[in-house]
Structures are given as C-alpha cells and as structure tokens.
Subunit: 408 residues, 2 copies
C-alpha cells in the first residue's frame, strides 16, 4: 500500500510504470534498446504464459515443443496474478496483485501497454467480442472497464454494501453479450453489469445470496453462475437462462454437524469441473471433492482425497479430474477417473504445486511447482513426465486456447 501511495503522490500512478521501461535506459546511461527480433510467422495456438510470482515476470511457453520461448519482465507484483487473452491468442492481459494491468504480446515477447488501475486487484475478464477488459478489485472495491486496445478507462463501477461501504469483488466472469458477472465478498451480493454501452453501464443486483462469496465460476456454456460461500456451508447458483434469474442455494450444509476445519488456503473455483453431467468441486476445509448432479445440483458423491483441495479441474474431455491441495499437502496431485469416481493416480510432481493447466486438447498437463522452481509437463494417459522446465517460482499457467473460451 505504501508503495502505491508514494507512486500516487508522485503523480500519475497509471503512467509511471508504463514510462519507466522507456526512461530506464536514459537513467542508467544505457546504450540503446535491444533491436526488435525478427520472427518467422508462427501461430499462437500452442503458446501459453506462466506467471513467475516472485520476479514480476511471465514466461512464454510453447506447448508443442514443451519449452520456454522467453521471459517478459516488468509486470510488478504478480504474487496473485491472472491472465485473459485477446481474440488473436497472441496478446494477453495480466492482472497483478498490485493493481497493474499489463498487455503482453507472446509473439514479440514485449509489454505493449500497462496501467496501474487499482491498489489491490484479484483478476479480470474480457468481453465476448474482445473489446473490453474488466478488472475485479479489492481496493478500491469494484470493477473497472478498459478499452482492450488502448487500456483507456471506459467505466468505473463501485461495489457497495448496504452500509455504503465498498466491498471487495471476486468471481468475475464474462457472459455472452457485453456482460460481466461478479460477487461482492463483503456485501453478500452478485451483480451483472451490461456494458453494451460502456458509457451507461446497467447493473442488475442480487442481494442476500449467502455469506461471503469468495470465488465463483460460470459453466462452460455460460448458463450457470455458481459462487462458493466462505461464511456458510453451501453455494449460490443462478440459472442465467431463466426468464427472471434468481439465486438458489445448493449443496447447503455439506459439512453440517461437523467441526469446521481450519482452512489453509482458499479453494479456487475457476477450477471447478463439469464432467460427465456432474460438477466436481472442492469442499472448503475438508479432504473431499464434492460431486453434484449438474441438472438437479444435488450432491451425488464425495470423494476422499489427500488434502484440502484447491483446484479441481477436468481434463478437456471430462474423463479425468485432477486435484491439487493446500499446505501441508501441496506437493501432491491426484487424478480421479470420472465414470468410476475413483482416485486412479497419486503422485508428487514437486514442492508447492500452485496450479495446473491442460493443453487445449488435454493430452498433457502443465504443473507449477513453486518451491522447486519447476514446471512439470505430464502425459495425462501414461502419467509420465514429458518435460521439466526450470522457471523461478512459477504459479498460474494460462494457455492461449483460453482466447476461445467463455466465462473466464
């Protein structure tokens, strides 16, 4: 915070980080910028980004050759960072913890644009047509809407509680049309902002949805929005296809009558999996994966796992669900077979597994092992390690095929 305040006091928090790289050569008397490299035309469909959380960098990776193509530096505090892709799959918007919003180009391996847009940010989303990028902010609580091309601010929508105080925003996702849905952690609410005209955002609000929504997801088809509740057992569901969408509680009391367990790490719901007509999700604080019927939303099974699940992710074909865990079990990964609902493989790819990302068609999975400074690439059929890449403190992995997906 103090760093940001200092920046603000110095004038233009937004411009300074952008200008810094340009000014630095002058400041250090350094010669000229390196020449722009020549690139043979290559597609972006098999590229991806790995967030390097300790160094404020992102690595550009090639999922066909399974190697690191380069490192892009200067993205600020990436201790909790996320990325979404432009329509071309070559440019990504990286949302940093410090409120930095940076557009990088994976082909040129350069920063194209960067603004400081908030004091504390938790991710973002991109509109269906790719023209608007939205950040979800903790501080100041709300969402901000930017032009994807220029990063100019188009709209600033505060998130307010009944008491008039700002709320942290979580669980932001794009919806078909120029709409975005998000949850208010401190105000027990869900909002849908229609940005068809960004100068006149229309916000529809659902109050009293349950205590402390902490993350959420949109089903792959854009129909259901599900927010996890930290303040109580259960989740809040909205059927967005209903004529009058309303909030419904599902999986209420999944831990009822039992002692709440200490929670070592907030599960990430973006990883929730819809596979084989069922939804797979982490039980907060419990060593279990919950399975719900994706039509009735009734619980149909619980699967004991090796720790508190963090990400519960379906392989793209939905045949397997992969799970990583909160500490002290975060060196483990387990694989569940969907039809039999059995753990079919357990292994330890490295220390501090923070994230997994499947290749677009699911033949491999990339796993960040922060404390081993490695990304492991694992075959999802044989479970063999296909490659092991040295990268400092890797966390989130974002493949460019996300450019074609809704609800991220």
């Amino acid at each position: 915070m103090s760093t940001r305040r200092q920046l603000l006091q110095q004038g233009s928090a937004t411009l300074l980080p952008t200008l810094l790289p340009a000014l630095l050569p002058a400041l250090v008397g350094c010669k000229t910028a390196p020449p722009t490299p020549q690139f043979a035309p290559r597609g972006s469909g098999d590229l991806g980004l790995v967030i390097l959380r300790a160094s404020g960098e992102v690595a550009v990776i090639d999922s066909s050759q399974r190697r690191v193509l380069g490192i892009i530096k200067g993205l600020g505090d990436l201790s909790h960072a996320a990325a979404v892709y432009a329509r071309d799959g070559a440019r990504a918007f990286v949302f940093g913890r410090d409120g930095g919003l940076t557009r990088v180009n994976l082909l040129t391996q350069r920063i194209e644009a960067r603004v400081m847009q908030a004091g504390n940010s938790i991710g973002g989303a991109i509109s269906q047509d790719g023209r608007l990028v939205v950040a979800q902010n903790y501080q100041p609580g709300g969402i901000k809407v930017f032009d994807a091309e220029t990063l100019a601010l188009r709209a600033d929508i505060p998130a307010l509680g009944a008491n008039g105080q700002r709320s942290r925003v979580v669980g932001l996702a794009d919806l078909p049309g120029q709409r975005f849905i998000y949850s208010l952690f401190d105000a027990d609410a869900i909002c849908i902002a229609d940005l068809s005209d960004p100068d006149r955002p229309q916000v529809q609000r659902f109050d009293g949805i349950g205590r402390q929504p902490y993350d959420a997801l949109v089903s792959p088809n854009g129909r259901h929005y599900i927010a996890g509740l930290f303040g109580e057992d259960g989740l809040a569901l909205i059927d967005l296809w209903a004529e009058r969408p309303e909030v419904r509680r599902i999986l209420g009391g999944y831990g009822r009558g039992e002692q709440p367990l200490p929670v070592y790490k907030m599960p990430h719901l973006r990883g929730w999996a819809l596979a084989g007509g069922t939804a797979w999700l982490p039980a907060i604080g419990r060593h279990e994966v919950l399975v719900a019927d994706a039509q009735s939303w009734q619980e149909v099974a619980r699967i004991p796992v090796a720790g508190q699940p963090v990400f519960v992710m379906a392989r793209p074909d939905g045949r397997q669900v992969w799970v990583n865990f909160a500490l002290p079990d975060y060196h483990k990964v387990q694989v569940i077979d969907v039809p039999s609902r059995r753990v079919i493989h357990s292994f330890e790819p490295g220390r501090a597994v923070l994230h997994l990302e499947f290749t677009p068609r699911g033949e491999a999975v990339w796993i960040s092992c922060r404390d081993d400074n490695k990304v492991q690439v694992v075959d999802t059929a044989s479970f063999k390690t296909l490659a092991s890449l040295d990268l400092p403190a890797p966390s989130g992995i974002f493949m460019s095929a996300r450019a074609a997906r809704l609800g991220l």
Copy 2:
C-alpha cells in the same frame, strides 16, 4: 445450380478480381515467384479459412476485422472439402474431394505441403497430439495416416465389408489418445483405430450397427459417438467410456409409419449440437429438428422448421441452435432458442447457404452463400449483418479455434 453455372460461364465478375493477381505475372511474362512478404507478428486465434469450392482456393479470413486477408490457390477439387488445424492454429490440413491433402499456412498464405493420397476423399482428422493426420476415403475405401510434419504415409488401413469388398469411410473423428473412430457406409460397421504405434495400428470393429451409416459425430467431451443411418430410421450410439463399449440404437423409427420423403441433400452430422443437456439433430428428409435427452437419448421434442435441415449447430454457449436447409429452401436460415425450443428468427442471408461457422466465443456467425458469392457475418444477438464479404462460391468455413477442439 444453373445460376452457378451461368456465373462460371460468364467468367464471374466476382471471380475475376480474385484471379487477376495470379494471372498478372503470366500476362507480363514474369516468371519468378513473388518475394516472401514480411509479416508483423500476429496471432492466429482469430483467423479462419473459407473453402472456395469452384476455384480450388481457400480464403484466409480475420474474424476480428471481419475481412479477407488473402487467397491461397492450387488446392485442386474442393467441391466437397474439409479442414482441420495443427496445434499452432496457423497451419491447416485441407482434404479435397479429389484425394488431395494440402497443408496451408494461414500466416504466410502459402501451401507448405501437398500430396494426392486417394481418388475420392471425404475429409479427415488430426490426432490429439497433432502429430498424425488421417484422411477418410471413398476410393479406395479406407483411412490413410500421415505424418503431420512431412505428409509421409504412416499407415494405410483398408475398410472391408464381409464380402471382402472395400467400403466407403464416413464420420471420421479423433478420440483422446492417438485413436480415431469412423464408420463404413457400405459395410454397416464402426471401427476404432489405435495409432499409438502407427507401424502397428490396432483396429477394433463393431459390426451390424445399422444400415448405411452416412455421417457421425463425437460429443464435445469425446464420450459418445453417434452415427446417422441412411438405410433406416434411427442412429447408432457408442458410449466410449464404457468398459466394453457397444453399439446401441437410439431414436429408432423417428419417421415410422410415414412415407419416406425424398432427401434432397444428406444432412451433415458434424453440425449436430449438444446444448442445455439435449442433442439437436436433423431428421433425414423431414422438415424437423429432433431433440433428444443427452443422457437417456430418448426423443424429447421435434421442432418444425422451414425445410430439410442440413446443419444444426449450437452457438458456442448452447443458448441458440442455428439451422440451414437442403434445396429448395437453401436460401433460408432459422434460429432456435434452446430453453423454449422455439424458432425465434428466420431470415434469408443469400442464395445457396452451404455452411455456417460461429466465431470462437459465439458473438457472430459466418454464413457461406454460394450462389451470391458472398460470406455474410451476422451478429448472433441482434441478428444484424456485420459484414458482407465477396468471395467466389464459398462453402465450408473453418475457424482456427478448431485447433483446440476434440472430436473433429
């Protein structure tokens, strides 16, 4: 047909500008190939191909700018052509009717490799890892497997009937692992070829699946394979997740007791849509779209439409299903709202609508109108025409986001 023939005979005002650049060097006696153009790095996520069926060319399109970037010539007979994408989304394999298999690069707008692999071919598929490309052939009936990099033949698998005669192959699709599934039109069979070792293909065969499978699809999650039957009412389904997969008949007798109608054009099953827990498919010869429950595979509804449906395609979010028709109704397109199962929009984008393709996130649809020599780009929310592109005799449209999809 006569209109198209006239156009061709007239020399086609629309064709001429396209052909001129190619003809000019010949006209001025220029012999050398044009210099390789310089390309600024650009992503391939928003590129696509349009098959120009009369001229043996493909157009490279940009779905963000909604324009034609260039034309690639020399692909032979594309009167029934299909394309699949390499992992990078920039290179596509085009399967021509004459057995030509051509790899084109959308970024350089060049042919990279081309082989004549059969006498009569009907499409192809690419392995999950992108290393093998497979063609499905009518003549000689069977599949052929090629190295994606070199187009060298890796395996040649004849499709044989009980009588020892070769059968035409239809409905080829990739499955997870290095597997491919396909149907034998003349042998009433379905085969799964495992190409983990292309030197020793393992083929599993299902006989007696029903008369004359004419096309098929794999559900987006790779679990179900459904073949349409031309020789009888109903379809053949395999649950590929079952321990012992077997063929089951579904929607048997959907036209029972009624006079078979003349069929003006074979429906294309690749367009079958899974949306909102239901499968939407064309009824052969009937002016109806059939709706089946995607778990029980029982018929749940029939929707009257404006003609014999050819493609029945879900918008990527599954909220709408778009339908085009066989002649004489092939100037019409209808849009069905999935939850209410009602036709909500009917329009006439042009003459001889042969194909539709959604942009990756579904905000727009591209529609080939062969006899108007136009591709219309239509907003899927407002139904407004966003762009109208002049292209000679356009047919299949293939967006590069297909690179990330299974079962194509």
